[in-house]
């Protein structure tokens, strides 16, 4: 494949590009990776000290989870809680945000927004390698970042005397766990605007042409001739993407991180195939008397009875020609 790309529009939170020279499976995997496999930070646990607002705790907690937090270089700058050595969360795997607002103005209501969230500092003392890789304002709500020109996100409204005091723990995650961790708000994906490949069938009332206006991407391609025969061998090779993010990551970062994610995912598979026949730590301690189904070879009995020691009883076959050698059978079979 000889991939090519042309960016039609680039903004901090938006990138519109045309990808060509790749197959449909690759383009779709790229789309799926951008949507669901790029880690960001999001509020995951909220401790309520005071909540006298009209909204119940879980309602507010849910709203807080959705607030985009700046996650620049999150994949390197932060650990997953499951991978961290700490017991209850530490600055390497957690960002703590606090909020304490009380309304004392009579006769009017007050809005609590994402701008009221304060980051609790004090992580520098830990000095982990991860901390140095984080971008500026890491973990801060996007609405408080430099250059932001939108509105902050409304969390709740307070009447006089009402108060909200909370402590939020933001953690690293991906969108397969919860959609709040997705850096993308929308991801447009289109190919074949004229439906030359007939991958879809248009439903219509009376007139197909009138009821299905062409997409803007149709300008990029030659319209098909009326009498053109159907080319059943044609493959899609031009894909129109429109990536929009919630501001936690820039569109550029989402794209580049996705590509390296796809690369490492594929490389891991190659590595696993290469090493799958070797017993790992688990297999040596609890080796099966027969090779597991995945390594059993067909019609090649010599695999089991050859010099590598697959005797009738594994226990008598000698220490060094061990029974803990499923890889020996693999060599006897087809090469792995």
């Amino acid at each position: 494949m000889n991939p090519n790309v042309r960016i039609r529009e680039l903004q901090r939170d938006k990138c519109n590009f045309v990808l060509s020279g790749v197959n449909l499976g690759f383009a779709n995997s790229f789309r799926r990776t951008m949507m669901a496999d790029i880690p960001t930070v999001a509020i995951d646990m909220v401790v309520f000290e005071v909540n006298t607002t009209v909204l119940p705790d879980e309602f507010i907690a849910h709203r807080l989870g959705m607030i985009p937090l700046i996650s620049t270089n999150c994949d390197e700058g932060m650990r997953y809680t499951r991978d961290c050595d700490c017991e209850l969360g530490c600055p390497l795997c957690m960002v703590v945000l606090t909020l304490h607002v009380r309304c004392d103005m009579p006769g009017t209501t007050m809005n609590i927004t994402s701008d009221h969230l304060q980051i609790q500092s004090g992580g520098d003392a830990w000095g982990g390698e991860e901390l140095t890789k984080r971008g500026e304002d890491f973990g801060l709500p996007v609405s408080k970042s430099r250059g932001f020109n939108g509105h902050p996100i409304l969390i709740a409204s307070l009447r006089k005397g009402q108060e909200l005091k909370i402590r939020c723990e933001a953690k690293k995650g991906i969108a397969k766990d919860h959609a709040k961790w997705s850096p993308c708000t929308a991801l447009g994906f289109e190919y074949d605007p004229y439906n030359k490949l007939r991958h879809t069938t248009y439903w219509f009332e009376t007139d197909k042409q009138a009821e299905w206006p062409l997409s803007a991407n149709a300008e990029e391609e030659e319209p098909p001739r009326e009498d053109a025969p159907f080319d059943y061998n044609a493959e899609p090779n031009k894909f129109y993407f429109n990536v929009e993010t919630d501001g936690s990551l820039t569109a550029k970062e989402v794209i580049l991180k996705s590509l390296s994610n796809m690369q490492s995912r594929t490389a891991t598979l190659v590595y696993n195939i290469k090493h799958q026949s070797r017993p790992d730590a688990m297999d040596t301690t609890d080796a099966p008397a027969f090779p597991p189904a995945g390594q059993r070879t067909s019609g090649q009995d010599q695999s089991y009875t050859n010099a590598s020691g697959w005797g009738a009883s594994p226990n008598t076959s000698g220490a060094n020609m061990g029974w803990a050698s499923p890889n020996a059978t693999a060599q006897g079979g087809w090469s792995l």
Binding site: R12, D13, L24, G25, L269, L336
Partner: protein, 138 residues
């Protein structure tokens, strides 16, 4: 907790301690065929490899399925014409995907450089409005 028997979502995409990442099951009835059972991966990887395998002349058949949506693995079935083993062609397909990704990465970096140059700013992101026009009316 209302749904305490709900499995942890992470178990759907993270290999647990001691869990095998994959199994290769040789087909006993069809020559030069094997099924790869790959754990904790989904369509994202499976479809990409399958389409890449189908571009290989040595591949007679390549298909994948996710047998059940709650069971986090997929099966990749490959048959070759005999000049290479199924494992070889999968390795080749993966190598080709990795090469494509790195070429694409270069193309993107060139394009990003050009676009940021066009904007006429050293730090384009600092001068650009943070949100695009879609949010202007909010």
């Amino acid at each position: 907790m209302a749904s305490s028997n709900l499995p942890d979502r992470q178990t759907l995409y993270v290999l647990q301690d001691g869990e095998r990442p994959l199994e290769i099951i040789e087909d006993t009835k069809i020559p030069n065929a094997a099924t790869f059972r790959i754990y904790k991966q989904d369509h994202t990887l499976a479809n990409m490899i399958r389409t890449q395998l189908l571009e290989d002349k040595n591949v007679i058949f390549a298909g994948y399925k996710v047998p059940h949506p709650l069971e986090p693995y997929f099966l990749l079935k490959v048959q070759t014409n005999g000049s290479l083993t199924p494992t070889d062609v999968v390795n080749t397909a993966c190598a080709s995907i990795i090469a494509t990704v790195s070429q694409l990465e270069k193309r993107f970096e060139e394009q990003f450089r050009d676009k940021e140059f066009d904007l006429g700013a050293v730090d384009a992101s600092a001068q650009q409005p943070f949100y695009s026009d879609a949010y202007a009316d909010f």
